[in-house]
């Protein structure tokens, strides 16, 4: 059943990503060149709606979750490396599969690169765990925990900030 849910959820996500054009090379690199904010609009809207949804579920006692563990070293070094690679290939892992499915066959090279990276990472893993992971490691921390406020305050701030950004993007035609 879990597998069927995965397939259905993925299929719907694929339709939404394709309709929003978030899987296009031009949209992804366009965002990084600061000329086309399509993927930022898409992502931020997903995050605002998603955060309201999942925290509502949690407050109703229907689900439990904890954010991924925080490590300054892992997220800064890993995040920057990802960003550099992302700008070069113009796709991220999920969107690459969608791009292939809408006929952008050139994405096969970045996909091969990412598979290669998966193998390289296996060899780097022990060193990463030993030297980078302990730098500024604080466990599963949410922004609300850190600030000592209700998660709804953070979500409200997120929604207002996203709204202001959207207005700015639309005004500038980005």
């Amino acid at each position: 059943m879990t597998l069927i849910f995965g397939l259905i959820t993925g299929t719907l996500f694929g339709v939404f990503l394709q309709q929003a054009e978030a899987i296009r090379f031009e949209r992804q690199v366009g965002a990084m060149r600061l000329v086309d904010m399509t993927i930022v609009k898409y992502m931020l809207t997903t995050i605002v709606v998603g955060s309201i949804g999942i925290y509502l579920l949690r407050d109703l006692g229907m689900v439990e979750f904890a954010p991924r563990a925080f490590s300054l070293g892992l997220q800064v070094v890993g995040g920057l490396l990802f960003g550099i690679g992302w700008a070069i290939i113009g796709y991220c892992p999920g969107t690459s599969i969608g791009a292939l499915a809408e006929g952008r066959v050139g994405v096969i090279w970045p996909i091969l690169g990412m598979l290669l990276g998966g193998i390289i990472f296996a060899f780097l893993y022990p060193a990463v765990q030993t030297y980078i992971a302990p730098i500024g490691a604080f466990g599963r921390l949410s922004v609300a925990d850190l600030l000592g406020v209700s998660h709804w305050v953070v979500i409200a701030f997120l929604a207002v900030a996203a709204g202001a950004l959207f207005r700015f993007f639309e005004k500038k035609g980005l």
Partner: protein, 176 residues
């Protein structure tokens, strides 16, 4: 229903947020895609007859980074993205066979060899970075930031910092 093109990212973004909520409620699963790549890659290495089963990365979490974890929710989710994008592009007439992205060609030319070289280096960096950071734009960006995770917020910010600086260097800041 007819809506303007510039509303699309908001409408489909909101639908994706609802989908995430439903997925968490029904299946207990948050979105994520990047771990599927090292898992699949471990299978390719096995096919070549190389035994890497003793490497620490493949022994942690009872082999959760290896092919042994297939089939799982995330693999089907990733396959689903392909199925959905195919159906959607076919039905909307946006399916197009394209060898290289036009924006890439206008900057770097149409040499396949150049694109392959950049793709292998860039793809490797992206996947090493994603696995190091603990997620990609779907796992950290969408799922993690929705949980208001400090780690995910930092990772997402770094994705864009690295991406914007690199794009500026690669495309010399010029407009499309």
């Amino acid at each position: 229903m007819k809506f303007e093109t510039h509303h699309k990212p908001y409408i489909f973004g909101a639908l994706s947020g609802l989908l995430l909520t439903l997925s968490v409620a029904v299946a207990g699963q948050f979105f994520g895609t990047s771990t599927t790549f090292p898992r699949a890659a471990s299978g390719l290495v096995q096919l070549l007859g190389v035994d890497m089963s003793q490497i620490e990365f493949y022994t942690v979490g009872n082999g959760s980074n290896t092919l042994a974890s297939f089939p799982n929710w995330q693999l089907l989710f990733v396959i689903g993205i392909g199925v959905g994008a195919f159906i959607s592009s076919r039905l909307s007439g946006t399916f197009k066979v394209e060898k290289l992205p036009p924006m890439w060609v206008s900057r770097f030319g149409d040499s396949t060899r150049t694109r392959v070289a950049f793709s292998l280096v860039g793809g490797s960096l992206a996947m090493i970075g994603a696995r190091m950071a603990g997620g990609c734009p779907s796992g950290h960006g969408v799922s993690g930031v929705s949980q208001l995770g400090l780690s995910s917020l930092l990772a997402l910010a770094m994705f864009f910092v690295g991406g914007i600086v690199t794009a500026r260097v690669l495309y010399k800041g010029g407009a499309a």
